[in-house]
Each structure stands twice: as C-alpha cells, then as structure tokens.
Symmetry: C2
Subunit: 368 residues, 2 copies
Amino acid sequence: MVNLSTISETGFVPAPNLLFTNSVERAIDDMAGKLNPVSVFVLVDSNTASFVLPRLRSQSKAIASATVVQTKAGEENKNLDSLASIWKTLGDQGATRSSLLINIGGGVITDMGAFAASTFKRGIPFINVPTTLLGAVDASVGGKTGINFNSLKNEVGLFREAELVIVSTTFFRTLTNAEMLSGYAEMLKHAMLSSREMTDRLLRYDITGYEPESLLRLLEESVSVKCGFVSLDFNERGLRKALNFGHTFAHAFESLAMVRKAPLSHGYAVAFGMVAALVVSRMKLGFPSDDLQRYAAYVAENYGAFEITCDDYPRLVQLMHHDKKNITSQEVACTLLRAIGEVEVEVAVPDSDITAALDIYRDLLHLP
Amino acid sequence: MVNLSTISETGFVPAPNLLFTNSVERAIDDMAGKLNPVSVFVLVDSNTASFVLPRLRSQSKAIASATVVQTKAGEENKNLDSLASIWKTLGDQGATRSSLLINIGGGVITDMGAFAASTFKRGIPFINVPTTLLGAVDASVGGKTGINFNSLKNEVGLFREAELVIVSTTFFRTLTNAEMLSGYAEMLKHAMLSSREMTDRLLRYDITGYEPESLLRLLEESVSVKCGFVSLDFNERGLRKALNFGHTFAHAFESLAMVRKAPLSHGYAVAFGMVAALVVSRMKLGFPSDDLQRYAAYVAENYGAFEITCDDYPRLVQLMHHDKKNITSQEVACTLLRAIGEVEVEVAVPDSDITAALDIYRDLLHLP
C-alpha cells in the first residue's frame, strides 16, 4: 500500500500540452501553424458533425481546410470496426506521417481518435478537443487512448500524449443535465482524492446551472489534480492508480450494463462506483461514516442508482478480476480512501468484502 | 539531404535489450526471472509450434509454464483478424498487465506479437525470439511493431522496444536456402550503408552453407550497424531512414505481389529494391557504375528477379507515393547512396526518374 496523502503538498503543475480557453478556433490555428502539417484531418461523430464542426469550420483556418473523418456516435461504437474505418479513411484520403489529426468530440472520439493516430503508420501527431464535460475532465490528460474489445472497456489501447488538448466550456451549452452530471462525477473524484475544502465546494456547486466562466476555472483546478498524479507515474505502474478510485466497481457496472444492452454512462458508473469504493474504504481503512453517508445521499439525489441484485454479484466479481488495473489475477486490487484527501492504491480486497460492500451499496442507494 | 557518411566513425553500440547467444533457453529463463511476471504467454505460428516450441518447452522453465497462443503462419496472416485473435486469447486466458508475452517466430510473429503486447491493456512486457535470419537481422532491433492493413505493409503499428530480443542462429538449421537469402539481403543492406570492406566480405561469404558460429558473429556485426542508426533516431524522423535504403521500391514490389496473389518475401523484395535504388543513386548522386553492376549481378545470380513490365509502372509509382516513410504526398522521398558507406536520406525523386530506373532494373536483371 502506498499512501499518497502528501502529494498535494508538492503542488500540482498543469501539463504543458493542456490549454484552458474559450477561444478554441484560435488555439487550433496557433497549434496547426506551429506543427505545420502537410494535411489536416478532423475526426467527428454524428453529434459533433452537426453541433460543433460547422462553427469551427467557419472560424478556424485549419479546420476549414481539413478532410473530415466521421464515425458513429456512442460508447457501443468505440470498437475495432470504427477504429479500422478511421485507419482506412486516413489511408485512402492520403494522410502521411506528417499529417495532423484533430479529434473533436466526447471521450469516445478523443480516446479512439488518439489511438488511431498513435498507430496509423506507427504514429502521427494529434490534437484533442473534448466537447463534453466528462471528456474534458477525464479524457483530456493522461495520454490514455483505446477502444473497447472482447466486451471489456478500453481492453486495447496505449499511453500517448496529444500534441495539444484544448479544454473549453463553450461546447457544454447544448449538453443535457445528465451529461453534465456524468462529467461532474470525475470532478468529485478529483476533489475527494485531493482536499475536503474542494469536496465541500463541489458538493454545493450547481453543475446543471451552466455558467461557462466559473466552470472553466473549476475544471482547470480539477484537471490539475489529475495532472499531478499522471506526472508522477505516466505509465500507471503505481501512484497514478489513485485516479482509479471508484473505477474498479464502475468498469464492472459498465460491462454489466453493456451485457444488459442498456449502456451506463461512464460518469454515472463512476458516481455509483465511488459509493461502493467508499463502503470498502470504510470496511478496510476506517473511512469516516458521515462522509460516506453524505456522498451517498448526494449520489442518490442527483444520480439515482445503478440497479443490481445479489444475482449479479458473481458476474460483477468476475468482471472486477478482469479489470486491467488488476496486477495479479488472484485478488482484486482497489484504490481506497482512508479519509478525504488520503488515498491508498493497490489494496487487496477479497471477494467476500466486495459482495458485502455491494449489499451496503444497495442499502445506501435505496435499492430493494 | 543529410549526409550520414561520418556516423560509422562514432562507433555503433549494440542495444542493451539485445542478446546474441546460442543458449536461448537460459536467456529466456534469466529474463523471466528478472521480470517476475504473474503469468507467461508464448506466441507461435504453426511452424514454430512444430519446429521450435517442443525443444524450448523441454529446456526452459518459463516456456514450460506458459500458455500457448497460436496464429496462422505467413505474411498474409499478419493482419487485423490475427491481431484481434491474439488480443482475445490473451484476455480470455487471464493475461494481466503484469503478464509476459514471448514471441517466437519470424518477422510476422515478432512484429504482430510486439504490437499485440504493446496495445493489450495499454501495454504489457514482451520478449522477441526471432527464428529466421530475416527476423533476426531486420525485426530484432528498432522497436517497429505492426500489421499489414488496407493492402499496405505495416500500415498500422507503433514504435516500442522489447524487454529483450534473443538472437540465435540455432533455429536456422531448418531454413531453406531461399529463407537464408531473404535475411541476407538486409545484411547486405547494412554492409552497403556502412563500409566497402564489410560489403566485399559479405558478397564472398557462403550464406547457404549453414555455419552457426561464424554466422552469429556476422549477425552481431550486421545488427550493430542497424542499432547505430536506430539509437540516433528512434522514432524515424530523420537519420534512421538510412535503413530504408531499397525499401521504397521493395514495399511497392511486395504490395504488387500481394495484389497478384503471389506474395514476395520481404528479403527478396529488398534485394530487388536495392538494385532499383542503386540505379536511382547512380542517376541522382553518381553512385559508381561498377559497384552497381557487381551488386546487380550478385542479385541476378542468387535471387533471380521480381518480374515487372512497363504496364506495372503506374501502380508501382502510386504505391511508392503511399509509402509511410513519405513525408509529403507530392514527391517520393528515397534513401540513396552516393557511394558504398555514404548515404543520403529523403532525396526527392520525380516519377519520371522512378520509371526510368525501373527500365534499367529490368535490363540489369535480364527481364524482357
């Protein structure tokens, strides 16, 4: 077990390839000018093709000149078929190693586009422009790229940093409350990993009352927490696993939801997964009961619950053993909190504790 | 244009992850002991499953304990389907991020297995054990991984070094003369990039008269030439392109052969591609005529010729424009020789010079 509670004292430094701005088109053109690619390609899905691309095309020289590569929207399309079709379009449209790919969309587009760029002709440069809050807070830093495969989330991918990630809140105007809450779960996670003050502030903030400037500042603060952990451990062999808080449960929930053909958004899965992870934290490390109750009440009120019964336990436990963060096949390794701001990674959790925690999770979220 | 003729004076240092030995099983077990993986997987094709795996299984503890992943042999199976099946087997058989993959086979297996390992769960460690001369001399160093895609060689892949590459000549006993000659073409390339003395020595050496100890020493010398170029430029943005000598033509020949459904081995393609590249070198940089004649005669005698007519020229030129080493789409960039040991990279060659060179290539190799 590694105690990370002292890390925040070292001060987190934002990644150099990360820009928080609401002048997106200028940021794109500045970077394209610097990279001077022989040709520009822009990856969008059907949503960003309609809602984002037209405006950027009219305002950015680089985007106006770009060849558009379009894929189907949705987590269910973050797969090998879509990836192959991106590779094929890049090749057929004459992309070379000195071309630039600009990925404009949510986490599906930035994860998959970054993976496509990192492996096309053994790697071409790319820029990520997240258009959802979840994408901005989660997929924007850390260089995680990939696709779902063999019914497992991000089973295939690699670590590779974008030339630039442009984080903006201007795209969030058209997002639903559910989409805002989905991203907010990761911001709550960063707060709980970092400080009580930030956690309290976020639990009071009205995330569904879209206010672009205050949100951009909050995002910058939240992402800097992530940057700190990533900068300490880019390839996720140790400390970076702090960011996995809530995710071992979340990924299992998402996989189960995929099997049920009723996909669960990643942020909601994380909101629910953190409830279960805090229960395990209470069991194994004495995480304070009142903090657990307060967070669970916030989730129940704002997110509802991911419905499970005890019949789902064996499958969930099996999925958690398959999680790629698991370093051995023998026992599930979880990131847990001793208290808010005090994180421990790779805590071995026996299957019996997992099922006990799922019982309490159901109680806390008022499930039958 | 960059003149690399002075590089050999700096002295080439072998890569630290590269071992030349005829005690393969000991090298595997030593490295497995050092890495201490939670589980070991071994990738083979139908050839190495029959001819190599049984012996290694009886002699190496790590291989004896490994889960075997098998794919179909042959360049035509270095594709997305095989890759997906490797990923799936690793996942289904419980491989984790702390598992180890040992790739045992020719270049198809080491390239594809390395790519699979580099992208499975965002990257697991791997060891390459090339079992062909071509694999040993070409795919053993430089971290190039990948698969063929969209009818193009190595269109998808990435740069990633193995934990260890074990180069041995013990596996070559069962290779055909054609397989030995295929690997030898890359050794001739290294010699021509490096020195007249090495070139003369190799043109006299009897590569088909299998002599494991002298060949292991020759291999070590040849691979060290490659290591030097790679160490100067791992991601192939500049100097490393020296190693691409002959390959722009070779890849086009191979792609054309794939279209004809009569695949050409990579080494033979390189042997032929170097004839064409030396012709262009003579045209553009005054490469000496007698050296060109001597090499072409060696190829005609030992390798024969890849048959083309002028009807194939437009297709070949188009394929060369698609080569991923090409930094712009406008003009084909070739690595050429001013003389033996004097290389220049990224020489722009107009299409008319390419077709003129193909005419002379046909003359030199006695094609109608």
